[in-house]
Symmetry: C2
Subunit: 350 residues, 2 copies
């Protein structure tokens, strides 16, 4: 899944080049490319499908030159994860009704690629022998308030559990309890299932979407698929797969995994996952001279010098045409700031 | 005088293009150009001489295309104001031994040009009839701690006084007393005198400089002047005209004037002299969206958008290759930061 706009990372993440296409960690590979590399260790190239927004087709081709062109599914509109996953499932199912699939965001950070591959392989083995909707639960390493959690229930296979509850983002107190009990795992939004299992669940729990897709059932996997999607996809109600299916279905399981994971959903998350200099600041790709500064993240275009004094726990992001200076504690407001920028200046700075 | 480097305004003021060459107030004219326009109302074009550092010759020609090329004096080294003024005086004196001259910085802000012209004309009339070193004293409008003051004594002509003392920059308490007494005026560094009067004073109080210049006395005003200066000027000890002459001579007078004046010596001074938006911030040439921000000055390249949250009384200056974020209260440290930048990165960001 590669169609998000990443507005919480504005101004780095832009309409024309969202977060997943950026070399966010200064590794030389964008988050999308890192995701592709990671998946390639468990899924053959010709079976990797990218679902994205129509406007990113050329970026995808540029960043993933090895990806087969017909494996890029271009959404005509953003409808959140449920319609996105539904389309991908219908598409793959049409090509192979016995297929199983892994669904993964393209803008997360995962460390420990071998452990990831091993976990995914085990997940595939689990779902291939039963009608299971498997989600990966990351063993939490801190009382994170920015993530949803999955409460585990009985073990049904080694490392795989049934699910007691999905929970919303907890407050800090509750997150600490979650961490202590050992029963709660981070919901990473990575899913493994057979196409027929998820399509059946979607028909049951998200019939508005499948009602639309089923009208073109014979067209998936044919040259008519694109035209059908272009004409009908936007009619699908936007919904997340968690709300639409995972929190309702009774055949949901969680594989508890321990590879390093971060959704890089916020500047603070990026700060937490980046090496700090001796003053406790993070400098992304830039020269920084700081005085009486700590806990800041500086994300500036390479080769620019930043001299800062008297800043504590700020985000300083400079993309050349936009400079954002915002306390990390206010980062939830960035989406609102982006909207204000739209109201004041149109699309220019988005 | 147009040779300063303006490091207190870094990163806007740069080695290659210091403060006086910048359109600092967004008027479309640089401070130098504004100074030239102002002087042109009292001094004919062919009598306007610019003394600057050798490296700024092309900038001067570009910004002042009407200035006569032989009226640009290029210092081979920076030696503060005393040697600079001494050279200019020797140069003009050689062309006309009866000349009077006004000396003015090129990087100050003056409002009320008509009052300025009137004051200067009156000053010329005063010095043309006596051996007087006349300085302009600006009637203070606030208890400014960033300026030197001149204490007035007896009136010797309408609006012109003898000088009791020159004072250093006062603390706030003292500055308030200065303001209340009405006896203290800001030392603007603008001087009016006959060339023979200042040369005589320099020979008496700054003989190290005149000793050097007198060795080439016959060369001023001739084609040999430049070579002589290139060979000898750097030997002059650096000193300000205030220390070298004004604080020592007994024929010093002050013309008390009331035109609007600011030396624009600091970001705070620029802030104080710029219109504020409704939140009490100053935005120079840029689009600014602020949240919980007040008392800041944003000096950013045109067309850039700045989104700032939670900043109070900061300087935010962005020149494209350098971003400075510094509390206004820390602006005296900017010179040190520039030096740190030099140590860390060489001349690149200076």
């Amino acid at each position: 899944m590669c169609g998000g706009v990443g507005s919480r990372f504005w101004p780095y993440s832009r309409e024309d080049c969202p977060k997943q296409f950026i070399d966010f960690l200064g590794t030389g590979r964008s988050l999308l490319q890192m995701s592709y590399d990671r998946i390639l260790s468990v899924v053959p190239k010709e079976n990797i499908v990218v679902v994205t927004n129509g406007k990113y087709a050329s970026l995808i081709k540029e960043q993933l030159p090895d990806l087969l062109p017909h494996n890029i599914l271009l959404e005509p509109a953003r409808r959140n994860t449920a319609p996105c996953i539904a389309w991908a499932a219908y598409h793959i199912h049409a090509l192979d009704p016995e297929a199983s699939m892994i669904v993964t965001p393209s803008d997360h950070l995962i460390t420990g690629e071998a452990l990831f591959a091993e976990s995914v392989t085990k997940g595939f083995e689990f779902v291939e022998s039963r009608d299971a909707l498997l989600t990966l639960g990351i063993r939490p390493v801190r009382p994170e308030t920015g993530y949803g959690y999955i409460q585990i229930d009985k073990e049904v296979a080694p490392g795989i559990r049934s699910v007691k509850t999905f929970t919303e983002k907890p407050n800090l107190e509750l997150a600490k309890v979650f961490l202590e009990t050992g029963e709660f795992f981070w919901n990473a939004g990575i899913f493994i299932w057979r196409t027929k299992t998820i399509i059946e669940a979607l028909r049951k729990y998200d019939p508005d979407v499948t009602g639309i897709l089923d009208r073109g059932l014979d067209l998936f996997g044919t040259p008519e698929e694109t035209a059908f999607i272009d004409a009908n996809f936007a009619s699908c109600p936007a919904n997340s797969i968690d709300y639409a299916v995972m929190e309702k279905a009774d055949n949901v399981y969680v594989e508890t995994v321990s590879f390093g994971w971060n959704d890089l959903g916020t500047w603070s998350a990026l700060f937490d996952n980046s090496p700090k200099n001796k003053d406790g600041n993070v400098a992304q790709n830039c020269h920084v001279l700081t005085y009486d500064c700590t806990g800041n993240i500086f994300a500036i275009k390479p080769d620019k010098l930043v001299v800062a004094s008297g800043l504590k726990d700020y985000i300083i992001a400079d993309t050349g045409d936009v400079l954002l200076i915002c306390p990390k504690a206010q980062e939830q407001a960035i989406k609102l700031m982006v909207n204000d920028a739209r109201v004041a200046f149109g699309e220019k700075y988005l």
